[in-house]
Amino acid sequence: METAFSGASNLAEAVDRAFIFIFSISFIITIAISVLMIYIVIHFSRKKVKNPKQFTGNTKLEIAWTIIPLIIVLMMFYYGKVGFTPMREVPPDAMPITAIGRMWAWSFDYGSGKISKDLVVPLNRNVRMNLLSMDVNHGLFIPAFRVKEDVIPGYKNYLWFRPIVKGEFDVYCTDYCGLAHSGMTAKVIVVDSLDFEKWLVDLKATGNIPDLPGLTVLKGNGCLTCHSLDGSKIIGPSFKGLYGSKRVVITDQGEKTVDAFDDYIKRSILDPNAEVVKGFNKGLMQPYKDVIKGEDLDKIVDYFRKSSEQK
């Protein structure tokens, strides 16, 4: 089980050593400065001191408090560098996996068309993540492994690690990438080597990157039998270019024009017959009020918004 701070990769120990070193020194000096300030304020208070000393400096002290901090920060630098250097030295035997980032989901490509939503990795095996972005910047962050690297379109960034603890850990996106940035999460699942091999064999080689969450909802509810994604008209209007566009709709009060943002889209799913798109017939689409729950509704809207942002 993961505790709040425990490290789960070979890299964590050196990183944590740097943390402990820097935090200890910071803590001691911050406390020392605070105590000194409180002491000064009390001991040299105006009530007690009527004749303040008038000295203006001391070269020896200045040299001391230049040199000593210099030594301390150079040690901090050293610990940081030592903890970091192995992160850039990928062992040649590392198993390559491509992490694909896009708005707003991760997928992990194991080669030969095998793509997974979660990152399943074998215990005690070196893994190299090649980072591929399909749209904007993302950041692949696995706190328990102490690794993070930006996923930038056109750049071949990478990171590596060797998991040393079995279990499930979080994957986050750390570069702001739009509406559902905070929902762009995944799991790392560390399993025994044998279990991993079995899992990989069972993973279907679809060659497809799994659908975005919103699209899954659309497919799962059969929306795409009436709505196309490519602009063609089926029974209902196509979803292409829907988000942010102007719609002419017929209501009980007559015809009006609305902007197709979140509210309108949600209304047209929950209660499609209140505003009927001009040129289509009322009553063809059933109200989905009791079918599609809040979160799925948001996913659909996210999906529409995202499609509209892509040029």
Partner: protein, 538 residues
């Protein structure tokens, strides 16, 4: 400093002319400073409320009071306002304007009309920032950093926000230029460079950063605008550009910009410690040269914002090393301030209270900055709540508390009236408590892996998030307490003498509020700035 003040003149810069237009058309540096003070205060309060809204949203995981889209818009405009409209002009535009000429014995800045023009440029930029929120379409949501490709592709009012930042940059450049020329050309007879007080020195170092670094962000933002409107591929890979190039250009400005914010605050507390200890500043020269060193070395550390962007290994450790070196001048200053108080006659009035909390908060911000500057630990903390906590400690705890120290210090000089001291102390206590309850838990959240700019979060982070949200409420109460005390006493406070704190720099030698042209007779300076040869406590 043998300038004798005339008996308090009834006519002063506040009342020698009246009416709104006399303010909007005034080229008096003090009035322009107040124009900045009022505009900055309004924007600060607005953005602070936005900060509170974000914290309410984060009180619990999932949607609490707003949608993800609203949250993303709010953190963006909160950042844009706080950075470009509040803290970058901040101390320099307000207290620099009001006090720089007085402290060096001049009647005004070198280019008074340009000074007024800068304020109008500033207001134009600030209004554009507001317009980005109300114009048709989506509010901008790329964060104040505007990283490409997102900012080049997203369908929201990014161009307006970019133009706002671009225009605000001009105001900053013009103010910097004005101050450099003022300091070079307008010092009173006898005021040699090393007889200049430390606040003007810090403004001087700041001004160089403003005029040298700001054009870089200007052109960079223009390039993103060109990218969006003319489809020229500078940064967006979809158009053949390089997204990491954008990050380099952005931080070449924005790291030095951090020093534009913090250096003047260091200058302010360097004035406050001597006065409230009735003792000369300790280590005048080291403080001056550490400001210049920060301004210089601060140019070469921008890469520490990009340790995970895929830079070469060599670049990463080199930027890390330089980052550690730039910490030294700041440490030197802290030790000099402590030694200034040591052996003095220390009077714990509100300005000193704020100055001391400045040291405390800045120390925490500084050390966590070292955590971010060290490579191994940066990887874990980069782009998490740890960074958010760090920069609020530096910028709000440092620059913000420096600003509060300054207003409590010079308030009686500016308005000729005194605020309520007890009230100020209580507000300080609430503010200081709220600040730490709000931001300290974010260090721990960040270490646990909580990323920044997250609308929603894993329930395992809830305890920390809740404590932090409670802190936001306490902080806001403290802010209201502090501001209302100051506002209330502008007209109703007790009449303040010309020199209530027994300071020795030039501004304390003239009446409060200062007359329209500061000095009836230009002072002649014959000695160092901080000589307390007759401490009034004797």
């Amino acid at each position: 400093m043998n300038y004798n003040s005339s008996p308090t003149a009834p006519l002063n810069f506040l009342n020698h002319k009246t009416g709104l237009w006399s303010w909007l058309s005034s080229t008096d540096h003090k009035r322009i400073g107040l124009l900045y003070l009022y505009s900055i205060t309004i924007f600060f309060c607005a953005a602070a409320v936005l900060g509170l809204l974000m914290k309410i949203e984060k009180f619990a995981p999932g949607e609490t009071i707003m949608t993800a889209q609203t949250y993303n818009g709010i953190f963006t405009i909160h950042g844009i306002i706080m950075i470009f409209i509040v803290v970058i002009p901040g101390l320099a535009a307000v207290f620099g304007n009001i006090l720089l000429p007085i402290m060096i014995g001049a009647k005004d800045v070198a280019f008074p009309k340009l000074n007024l023009f800068s304020w109008y440029v500033y207001i134009t930029g600030a209004c554009l920032g507001l317009y980005s929120q109300f114009a048709k379409g989506h509010v901008p949501d790329a964060g104040w950093t505007f990283y490409v490709p997102y900012s080049a592709e997203v369908n929201s009012n990014i161009v307006i926000a970019l133009t706002a930042a671009f225009v605000l940059g001009f105001a900053s450049i013009l103010t910097g230029l004005n101050f450099i020329v003022t300091i070079h050309r307008m010092r009173a007879p006898g005021m040699t460079w090393f007889r200049m007080p430390l606040f003007p020195w810090s403004l001087y170092a700041t001004a160089w950063i403003q005029i040298l670094a700001t054009p870089i962000i200007g052109i960079t933002l223009l390039m993103v605008i060109a990218e969006r409107t003319l489809q020229i591929g500078f940064f967006d890979p979809a158009l053949g550009g390089d997204p990491v190039l954008y990050q380099h250009l952005f931080w070449i400005y924005s790291h030095p910009a951090v020093y534009v914010m913090i250096l003047p605050a260091m200058g302010v507390v360097s004035e406050i410690f001597p006065t409230f200890s009735q003792k000369p500043i300790f280590g005048y020269m080291p403080i001056v040269f550490s400001s210049l060193a920060i301004a210089l070395v601060g140019y070469f550390v921008w890469g520490h914002h990009m340790f995970t962007s895929g830079m070469s290994y060599q670049a990463r450790w080199f930027f890390s090393l330089l980052t550690f070196l730039v910490a030294i001048p700041s440490a030197i200053k802290v030790f000099n301030w402590l030694s200034t108080m040591y052996g003095g006659s220390v009077d714990l009035k509100p300005p000193l209270l704020y100055a001391i909390s400045f040291i405390f908060l800045f120390t925490i911000g500084g050390f966590t900055g070292l955590t971010l500057g060290s490579l191994a630990t940066n990887i874990q903390t980069h782009n998490t709540d740890f960074v958010v906590a760090h920069f609020h400690y530096i910028v709000f705890g440092g620059m913000g508390f420096g600003f509060f120290a300054a207003i409590h210090y010079w308030y009686p000089k500016i308005y000729g009236r005194m605020y309520n001291i007890r009230w100020a102390n209580i507000a300080w206590a609430i503010l200081f408590t709220g600040f730490n309850v709000l931001y300290f838990p974010m260090f721990i959240l960040g270490l646990q892996g909580m990323p920044r700019r997250y609308f929603d979060y894993d329930p395992k982070f809830q305890t920390g998030q809740m404590i932090s949200s409670i802190g936001a409420f306490i902080l806001i109460i403290g802010l209201i307490g502090m501001i209302s005390n100051l506002v209330y006493h502008v007209r109703r406070g007790a009449i303040a003498p010309a020199n209530p704190w027994h300071g020795v720099t030039l501004e304390w030698q003239i009446p409060s509020p200062p007359p329209h042209e500061n000095f009836d007779e230009v002072p002649v300076i014959t000695r160092d700035p901080y000589v307390f040869d007759n401490p009034y406590t004797k």
